[in-house]
Symmetry: C2
Subunit: 326 residues, 2 copies
């Protein structure tokens, strides 16, 4: 089942989207918003699935043409957004570029940060920044939306709490990060609003590609229309989506609608490209002594997509343009 939130007020309007992303049906009689559906999933999901089946079989008379540009984020505002760094190749490159050792604990204890969740961008919303000197970067990732996760949930049990999967562009202001992290309390200014794929999907839509609580497909990124990367999101994911949820739940429960991100997808094979500019700049630093690829500038475009085995987009593409201003 594929779900989206069309732009409407603060929380969007929940719709069921067809598998081929061509049509949608509004479901105000079932649940007004994505959060309302997540709050009462056991009761709401079967009703949404019936609509989805009709829609996919071509028997839903109310179907309308689906336009990703009308989408808000699946959760236009959420009660929680936590992001991991599950691809240690990325973390290793960061460290190597500044000649720092990788702490051994990083291979057993997931690195995660609490992000702001009051403002989530739709897939076609601009990346709006006040100052190009902040060093704006994309970070292409996979994220899951959970239901209520009890405190102390194990990684084995965590997957049962995954309700939906989607793509994220976790926008970062790279030049603000060093000073902010040096203060010791994580990110506040250097992680502005993230953007999400037009639709979020249930695990069954991922067919055999969801294995070991990882999504084994390439995440495809284009910058200004040119191929930028397609690392596989499953193969080198050190901590699975279930591991990340279990880590968070060690000391606290998670509320329905919590969004848990994977961190920037990264593979050791450099022919597969990258999912963020910082990684390209680190490789340039390691190989040539200094970065040469610039961060994002006004007018630059970013596209992030993931295709199924038949080359069809699963989540719809994130397509954003950088703009200067409010």
């Amino acid at each position: 089942m594929k779900l989206a939130s069309l732009k409407h007020g603060r929380d969007g309007r929940l719709v069921v989207v067809s598998r081929d992303l061509k049509h949608y049906v509004a479901v105000p009689d079932i649940a007004p918003t994505m959060q309302a559906a997540l709050d009462d999933w056991a009761h709401i999901e079967p009703q949404l699935r019936k609509v989805s089946e009709l829609l996919n079989s071509g028997h839903e008379g109310r179907a309308q043409a689906f336009d990703p540009a009308q989408c808000a984020a699946p959760l236009p505002r959420a009660y929680q957004w936590v992001d991991g760094s599950a691809y240690l190749n990325h973390v290793e490159l960061v460290r190597k570029a500044r000649n720092a050792e990788m702490p051994p604990s990083f291979y057993t204890d997931p690195l995660m940060y609490q992000g702001g969740s009051d403002d989530m961008l739709g897939a076609r919303d601009p990346i709006s920044i006040l100052d190009e000197a902040w060093g704006t970067d994309l970070e292409a990732e996979v994220a899951v939306i959970t239901d209520d996760v009890p405190k102390g949930t194990s990684a084995e049990d965590a997957v049962r709490h995954v309700r939906l999967v989607m793509l994220v562009n976790d926008v970062s202001l790279r030049n603000l990060i060093p000073n902010e992290l040096a203060k010791g309390f994580g990110f506040v200014l250097s992680k502005p609003a993230s953007a999400f794929s037009p639709v979020a999907v249930t695990l069954d839509e991922l067919e055999g590609h969801w294995q070991d609580n990882r999504l084994h497909l390439p995440l495809r990124v284009w910058l200004n229309g040119e191929w930028f990367g397609e690392p596989n999101a499953g193969e080198e994911m050190t901590f699975s989506h279930a591991d990340l949820i279990a880590h968070l739940a060690r000391t606290r429960k998670l509320g329905a609608g919590s969004i848990v991100g994977s961190g920037t997808i990264s593979n050791k094979d450099r022919a597969r490209g990258s999912c963020c500019l910082a990684e390209v700049r680190m490789i340039e630093t390691i190989e040539q002594g200094a970065p040469k690829t610039p961060f994002l500038k006004a007018g630059d475009t970013v596209k992030i997509d993931m295709w199924d085995g038949a080359g069809k987009s699963i989540f719809g593409a994130i397509e954003q343009t950088v703009v200067l201003g409010q």
Copy 2:
């Protein structure tokens, strides 16, 4: 005007509370929840104020007895919770206890962290922990709830975006903090659910005590029924509530219902006691070479309150007991 959320479903039920905290009136015809009121404040506030005036003048026939034990947090789940460290005496003591220098930037650039906001505790909810060895601590603070704050809002303009003020117990797991902060991405495990005062109040309820965007009253803390501290929340607040909001808004807008905390209240005058156990332990370390006051254990009770000039509780008290388990 004083508002509370009685326990009811995931988001509570908005009620108007009398100034003396003795009565309340439910207002389902005006707004079902606190978040709904904040989402449309310009339209909703005048209607709530009419109820408040009737209630305070004794002319509201629907008034019922107010019981803080029935209160959820004013926002039982919120779209944002960010906490500052605005009292630099506290930060200086932390540093001094481990013989570390205070970075000069700390006096001009507010230290803040993004917290989890999917699970906010009511004023009488237990502090529920899985392991006493985690070193559970209270942190008594003042927090404001904002409306929509545009990106780039100045400190001068920020106070116009303060809708409500309340008290917080920002529970911390002290023994998990060093390892977590050493990872560099802030708090995830070491800051479980925070608890909030029974009521949140508009600025006019603070009368002359709200000055220079600071709340100039002692915050009173008792531990197991014994006096623990009463530092003034205004006098030594290096960064005002407006400064903290403006800092957050430098790179991103804030959504209505964002909660911004002050950090642990702390004064240089040690006769005024403390608002957290860590500070007492730091002073013991500085004066005696080692801490002797233990962190919270199962059965310990914490009370946090603030009185007006006439000795009346403004927000109602936070009163929590530590329990082991889920």
